[in-house]
Amino acid sequence: MVDLVIIDRAGSAHEFSAPGGGSLMEAVRAQGIYDIKALCGGSCSCATCHVYVEASGPLKPMSEDENDLLDGVSERREGSRLACQIVLAEGMAPLRVTIAPEE
C-alpha cells in the first residue's frame, strides 16, 4: 500500500492508502474525490488529471508526452504531473498531492 494525502480544490485533505500497481489517478478516482476529470481514462492524451506532487522519495521521471501536455496547462508549477502517469508501487514513499485548478 502507498500512503496518500490528496488536497482537493476546496482545500480538504483526504488521507488514505492505495494498493500498488494502479495509477495515482485511479487511486484518487476510486476514493470518490470529485475534482479529477481524467477524461481520456489515463492514456496520457488530455491533461485533465493535472496535480502537484510533493514526493518524499524519487518518482519515475516524466515522459516527453507528459511534459508536452503539461506545457498546455495554465498553471504549471514545480511538481506538476499528470496523475495518470504516476504508477503507485508497493513500498513507495508517501505522496502529498494537490489537485491543480480547473482549466
Binding site: G22, G32, Y34, G41, S43, A47
Partner: protein, 409 residues
C-alpha cells in the same frame, strides 16, 4: 409517486458528469439517474482499446466507484429504460410500466449503434461495440484466431482492427468510402492510417460495399460485397456510427431531428428539459455556429457541465474547444478543433517518422489539427485555434517552429 426532483435519463459520461457537477455546485435537490443497462456509469472509449485487450479490469473504467452515487445522495436506477415522456405532466414512463415524476429533466441517453440491414445481419457472429455487454460477447468468441470482417473504417473500426490484429486475428476492414476516417479526418491522415494498418497485416478494403453476410446453420461464414467478391469470415464487427436516442423527447414535442436541439446552456425547446452529449444537436462556435452533434467524451463532459450549471441556477455557456483521441498500435492520435469548412491542409513534419501533425486552415487561420505521436503540436495547436490569428504558412509548416510561438505572430 415519489418526488423525483431532477431526473437524468442515461448514466453514461454525460449523465454521470452532470450529477457529479450538480453536487459540486451545491445542488441539494433530488437527483435520480435512469440507466437502461445494468451497469453503473463507466467509460466507453476503453472498450475498443484496453478492455478489449484484457489489460485492465472493468472496475478501473468506472467513472466513480459504485458506492459513490449513494454517498452523494444520487439515486442510480439501472435497467430503467425510458419509453415515453409527458412534458406537461412532468413524468416519464419506463419500459416496465413504472412512472416517475420530475421537476427538471436532463436527457443524456446518447445513441444506439447503427445496425446493418443487409441480408444475414441477424446471423450469430455479427457484433457491434457500444457497451460492455457487446465487448464481453465479442471477447468470448476470440479465444483462438479468427477471421474478422470489421465493417466501417472510422475510429471504432480502426481501433478494433488494431486490437484484433495485435491479438493474432486475421482482420479485414470494409470501408464503403474511398478512404478510412473519411468523415473525421483529412486525406493525408486517412492514407497514413491505411498504410499503418496494412503494415500490421490488416486487409483494408476501400469502396467496399457490404451486400450480404453469408452463413451456414445460423452462423456467419463470410461476407459478400456489392461487386460480387466473397470473403471468408468467422465474425463480423460493425462500427458504422450511432443513431441518437431521442424518440421520446421528439414525440413529446422537443425540437430536433438528428438528435435533440439544445442551446448553449443545454436547454431543449421544452421548458425545464435539458439534454447533453452524443444526442444533443447544438450550434458549435468551432463549426462556424453550424448545428452539429459531436460524439466524444469531451463534448459529453463539457456539455453536461454547462447543463448542470443551468440546472443549478448558475448558467455558464458551453463554449469548449472540441478534442478527440484515439490509440492504435503504437500511434497516439490527438485532434483538436473541427476541420469542417477548411480550405487547406498542411502536413507538419515527416509522416515517415510517424510523428507529425496535419493542420486544417481556413483563410490561413487554424481550424483544427490532427496530431500523430506529437503531443507538443497538439498542445500548441489548441492554443492557436483558440486565438484564431492568421498564420504565416511557411512557419506553420516548419516543425522546427513551435506552434505555440505562432500565436503571438
Amino acid at each position: 409517486m415519489p418526488e423525483a426532483g431532477l431526473l437524468i435519463v442515461g448514466g453514461g459520461q454525460a449523465g454521470a458528469t452532470a450529477a457529479i457537477t450538480l453536487r459540486q455546485l451545491g445542488f441539494t435537490g433530488g437527483i435520480t439517474i435512469l440507466e437502461a443497462t445494468g451497469a453503473p456509469p463507466y467509460e466507453r472509449p476503453p472498450l475498443s482499446k484496453d478492455y478489449m485487450q484484457g489489460q485492465r479490469g472493468f472496475e478501473s473504467f468506472l467513472i466513480r466507484p459504485a458506492a459513490f452515487w449513494a454517498q452523494q445522495q444520487i439515486t442510480l436506477l439501472t435497467n430503467a429504460r425510458v419509453a415515453g415522456l409527458d412534458a406537461a405532466a412532468r413524468t416519464v414512463i419506463l419500459q416496465d410500466g413504472r412512472v416517475l415524476s420530475f421537476t427538471t429533466l436532463l436527457w443524456t441517453a446518447g445513441g444506439t449503434p447503427r445496425r446493418l440491414t443487409c441480408p444475414g445481419a441477424a446471423l450469430d457472429g455479427v457484433f457491434t461495440l457500444h457497451d460492455r455487454e457487446d465487448a464481453d460477447a465479442l471477447i468470448a468468441r476470440l479465444a483462438f484466431p479468427r477471421r474478422v470482417a470489421v465493417v466501417g473504417g472510422g475510429y471504432i473500426g480502426l481501433e478494433m482492427a488494431a486490437v484484433l490484429s495485435k491479438q493474432g486475428h486475421h482482420v479485414t476492414v470494409l470501408e464503403a468510402q474511398e478512404r478510412v476516417l473519411a468523415r473525421v479526418a483529412g486525406e493525408a491522415l486517412s492514407r497514413f492510417m491505411e498504410a499503418e494498418h496494412r503494415a500490421h497485416g490488416v486487409d483494408v478494403r476501400l469502396g467496399a460495399q457490404l451486400a450480404e453476410i453469408t452463413g451456414a446453420a445460423g452462423k456467419v461464414t463470410g461476407v459478400c460485397l456489392a461487386n460480387g467478391e466473397r470473403l471468408v469470415a468467422d465474425l463480423v464487427v460493425t462500427g458504422i456510427g450511432i443513431v441518437p436516442q431521442v424518440a421520446p423527447l421528439l414525440a413529446a414535442g422537443a425540437m430536433g431531428g438528428n438528435g435533440v436541439d439544445v442551446d448553449e446552456f443545454g436547454a431543449t425547446s421544452l421548458p425545464g428539459i435539458y439534454a447533453a452529449g452524443d444526442c444533443a444537436r447544438h450550434r458549435n462556435r468551432y463549426a462556424g455556429n453550424a448545428w452539429i452533434r459531436l460524439e466524444s467524451v469531451q463534448n459529453a463532459t463539457d456539455q453536461a457541465i454547462a447543463a448542470a450549471h443551468a440546472i443549478a441556477g448558475q448558467p455558464k455557456p458551453y463554449t469548449a474547444l472540441p478534442w478527440f483521441w484515439s490509440n492504435q498500435y503504437d500511434l497516439r492520435l490527438q485532434s483538436a478543433g473541427l476541420s469542417l469548412g477548411h480550405d487547406m491542409a498542411l502536413v507538419r513534419g515527416d509522416m515517415a517518422s510517424r510523428s507529425f501533425s496535419i493542420l486544417y486552415l481556413r483563410e490561413n487561420r487554424l481550424l483544427a489539427l490532427d496530431c500523430v505521436n506529437n503531443a507538443r503540436d497538439y498542445v500548441g495547436g489548441k492554443a492557436l485555434i483558440a486565438v484564431g490569428t492568421p498564420l504565416d504558412l511557411a512557419r506553420a509548416a516548419d516543425p522546427a517552429v513551435a506552434l505555440k510561438s505562432l500565436a503571438a505572430a
